[in-house]
Symmetry: C2
Subunit: 557 residues, 2 copies
């Protein structure tokens, strides 16, 4: 009878234990969890804070009792694994409440210890009223504080998805919220001009957003906390959510001498595993937020601290353990498909973004479109912004980002599926979507992004990003606005000349032939129509602004 011990009882760990049982009814399975709870919904914690999820029990997908009843797993909560004796294949367990310490032997040990909030050495970070959020006790602490103190002002440090979800939920409780973010944008998985749409929305929702400013210290004065910033500014608040990222919780693994990623970079100290989640010790495997693996698109080794991968890995590792590595598909690495609701917006991304692609020096081209989520003539159509990044050599899709309302998650899901199948621009064009007016248009946004990309690949269109546009404009290119005169007058790019695309064929003589020409419209479509007319009338040094005025104004303003 095999004996399996799993350290960590939430996403990766509980799933591993559950699948192990289904694979091997007769094994001895011990699930060890330091905290008091297993199988809880980390991802629901921000919404429980805000009262969107009102019942605390809802956070618990499984209780230890139910887990044991259903899956016959020996669940040991409030028990910490403090050491691994790899030579003797034992692990030291400490019961938190009694201090009782004992060892337990294993045939295979699975580590799913997760990650912990990063806490840099900022003076005052330990002050009362400053919280990080990872677990049920964390949220209990935050909720108790909020219910007791009824604070009016909150500061969220960090504009990642947990920070934004917390900002939304604190605002939902009626608090005035300031977000402080050291970078020039929130939401690292998306690029700047996409994040700019989120910035605008946050400000519309009365969130104070302080970008490019880091926290240098926290100070308590009277009943208030003062958040001191690198810029010298000071933000008074009643409560702080500190959420600047996570790092693998791998002391146990490192103490046991398992190979981990080198210190220094974000995600450092993650357990290195192979495609069957084997660590450097053949009897120990690891999954979840604590592991590092190669990104199949960038080839960089890193962490992907997300619940979807943790759950899938848990299932796969249980199969590899019981059925053998050669019986189980190899883990191919997560491409980092993720989403967050930010007030009314949905923000989603998959694959690589331009920032990462620039860092690894991989050539890429991006298109940005702003189609409606469904047929414009059907009620409640709303626009979404979709950016797709592709490799101009191989035509492979490298990544995609979307910001909008309904239907954002759908498009990123589809593109994620295509990327995993080594999809190309042609696959975007050919994608056969479900179409009826409430769901899409006859050409889905995914198709449309493909068409725009294909035109570039074929040399029928040349696009520039808002950033390249600004550079070329500064160098004196001719800027042609092909929107209507009314649109032009409501706001245009400085220096632009307006020739509506419907008049262009008769006014070609107004477009210089001896200068670089930058054309733009509202979203890119009419710019493209104008570009086709000009290009076939001899213009070659001619570029269309991808995403049009809509993207430009969000990014530049």
């Amino acid at each position: 009878m095999a004996k399996y011990i799993i350290i960590g009882g939430v996403a990766g760990g509980a799933t591993t234990a559950a699948r192990l049982r289904r694979n091997d009814e007769h094994a001895e399975i011990i699930l060890v969890e330091r905290g008091d709870y297993i199988s809880y919904a980390n991802c629901g914690l921000p919404y429980y804070t805000g009262g969107v999820i009102s019942e605390r029990e809802k956070l618990f997908v499984m209780t230890p009792e139910k887990f044991n009843q259903t899956l016959h797993v020996d669940v040991r909560i409030a028990t910490e694994a403090t050491a691994i004796d790899r030579a003797h294949k034992t692990v030291t367990l400490v019961e938190r409440k009694t201090g009782k310490t004992y060892t337990e032997s294993y045939d295979t040990l699975v580590l799913s210890p997760g990650a912990e909030p990063v806490r840099p050495p900022i003076p005052g970070l330990d002050l009362e009223g400053i919280f990080t959020l990872r677990s049920v006790p964390d949220v209990d602490g935050i909720k108790a504080w909020l219910d007791m103190k009824r604070p009016e002002r909150a500061v969220v440090v960090g504009g990642g998805f947990i920070g934004l979800e917390m900002a939304e939920n604190l605002a939902h409780r009626g608090m005035a919220v300031t977000i402080i973010e050291a970078l020039d944008q929130v939401m690292a998985p998306i690029d700047f001009e996409m994040a700019a749409l989120v910035h605008r929305h946050l400000r519309d929702k009365d969130i104070e957003l302080r970008l490019k400013d880091g926290v240098s210290a926290f100070e308590k004065r009277g009943s208030r906390i003062f958040v001191k910033l690198a810029s010298g500014d000071e933000v008074p608040t009643d409560v702080v959510i500190f959420s600047v990222g996570v790092r693998p919780d791998t002391k146990l693994a490192r103490d046991a001498g398992l190979e981990t990623t080198p210190q220094g970079k974000p995600g450092a100290g993650a357990i290195l595993v192979d495609e069957h989640f084997r660590t450097s010790d053949p009897n120990i495997r690891a999954v979840g937020d604590a592991i590092a693996f190669r990104n199949p698109l960038s080839n960089e080794v890193g962490i992907v601290p997300l619940a979807g991968p943790a759950n899938k890995q848990g299932r796969l590792v249980a199969d590899a353990i019981v059925f053998g590595d050669d019986q189980v598909p190899a883990w191919k690495g997560a491409i980092g498909t993720s989403a967050a609701k930010v007030f009314d917006l949905t923000v989603a991304a998959t694959g690589l973004n331009e920032k990462v692609l620039a860092r690894i020096g991989k050539p890429c081209v991006s298109v940005i479109i702003h189609p409606n989520n469904h047929a414009s003539y059907y009620p409640n159509a709303v626009p979404l912004t979709l950016k797709v990044i592709f490799d101009p050599q191989t035509t492979r899709i490298l990544g995609a980002q979307a910001v909008g309302y309904d239907g954002v998650d759908k498009r990123i899901d589809v593109i994620s599926a295509l990327i995993r199948k080594e999809g190309t621009v042609a696959d975007l064009c050919e994608f056969e979507h479900v179409y009826a007016p409430p769901f899409s248009s006859a050409k889905d946004p995914v198709n449309m992004a493909g068409f725009v990309a294909e035109n570039i690949l074929q040399g029928r269109s040349k696009v520039v990003s808002w950033k390249q546009f600004e550079e070329l404009r500064a160098k004196g290119a001719f800027v042609l606005d092909v929107r209507t005169r009314e649109e032009f007058e409501l706001g245009a790019i400085p220096g632009a000349v307006c020739i509506p695309n419907t008049e262009l064929r008769h006014r070609l003589n107004e477009v210089p032939r001896d200068r670089k020409v930058l054309v733009y419209c509202g979203v890119g479509l009419r710019g493209y129509l104008a570009e086709r007319i000009l290009r076939q009338n001899g213009w070659t040094d001619l570029y269309n602004l991808t995403g049009g005025y809509k993207t430009w104004s969000a990014a530049v303003e």
Copy 2:
């Protein structure tokens, strides 16, 4: 200068003309349309009938004037193409209002004449108050009649997606609606037990549904129409929408001697084209509802009368014409991805269904699951039913169907994308979805369907459909209900013995070892857990009911 004529000015035709212009600024392009309108939203017509789309102008994506202004296309409305002289490469055009007849020469002719409603020789079909729906004049006629007569009762003949959309929209106008359908189910693209969910919903919405009964005649008595049925029943009504399918509108093509599919079967008379939409005449191409092409999954040649394919084909054919066939990706055939809103439900499908697979004799296995659309703990989670059909030999995904509320279209879109990339069950398991509580669960329904299918492929689970279940139950199999006693008492499959899955390990002796055992639960999950316990304790002649009691009760009751 090339000269192109396109016959048909809506989905396929208008798109072809638009892309031709972008590809070739200097060509002469003539778009010929028999009706008074081009570029209108056929798919919006039912919603305009119901007043959901309130403004008539919204139906027109482009007017002839705007089309000409923007794309410099010579649009000739109210003009019918009546003959093609292939030898001289001319087409005869008749101006409907003046009767003026003339010919126009072409270098390439593109046909996108669409399809027309099937009108079998049923006595009385021409009575006043009986309508078919294809075009703007059709909907104008229906709306005028409804506004004038204010009828109370309507009959819709045909339970396809147009019929159901019309039923919903007539009900939306306050009418009592009866749907008459000759088959035992509505919505041909989905299988019976999935359609059963739609039947239930229609009845919940007070639609009278008469299945397995055909119309034998219509009779006018007084101001009412009486719909006489094959069963002998008679349904009195004030208005009839007759919507039993479409057939290619190809008289022009057939008269010109172009090759079409043989008469006799549904979709007969469709223009045969190759992968670049070439008809049997090298100077004539055709796209849209009027063409027949090979289905890449079934290898059957047939029509796919949907707007998505028509639009994509229009774009491709324009490329093939201007850039050459060898410069353009070959059309691979549509797999029939489609959706309809039916009152509160979304019904969507992709690929092949079991009915088609049985007809072509292709072996397949199906799984049915009923997961929530997003995390159960997040507000407003609603279940959806997802059926995935796969090839047990190659593990390729053959088709999928879903019925539910939010998130149905998303899952079918993803599976459609995977099918087009020759996806397998492993791809369903590995699919990396965007996950945050408002959008999905850590394991997406697509993953879950993959897991269930993988367990079957690996022999770890054996499933039966509700139909096989009923056959085996009739033959005396032991039926084990592993739900709780409370669930069991609220309704169970006749003859079942209840042993809750949490008690099964201690009550194995109550399960016979010498009989076939059929296990079931609410949706299939606990049945699977029980199956794993039993199988690993020696039971082999053991089957889990896919979709559980939920599917069984919808299909059997």
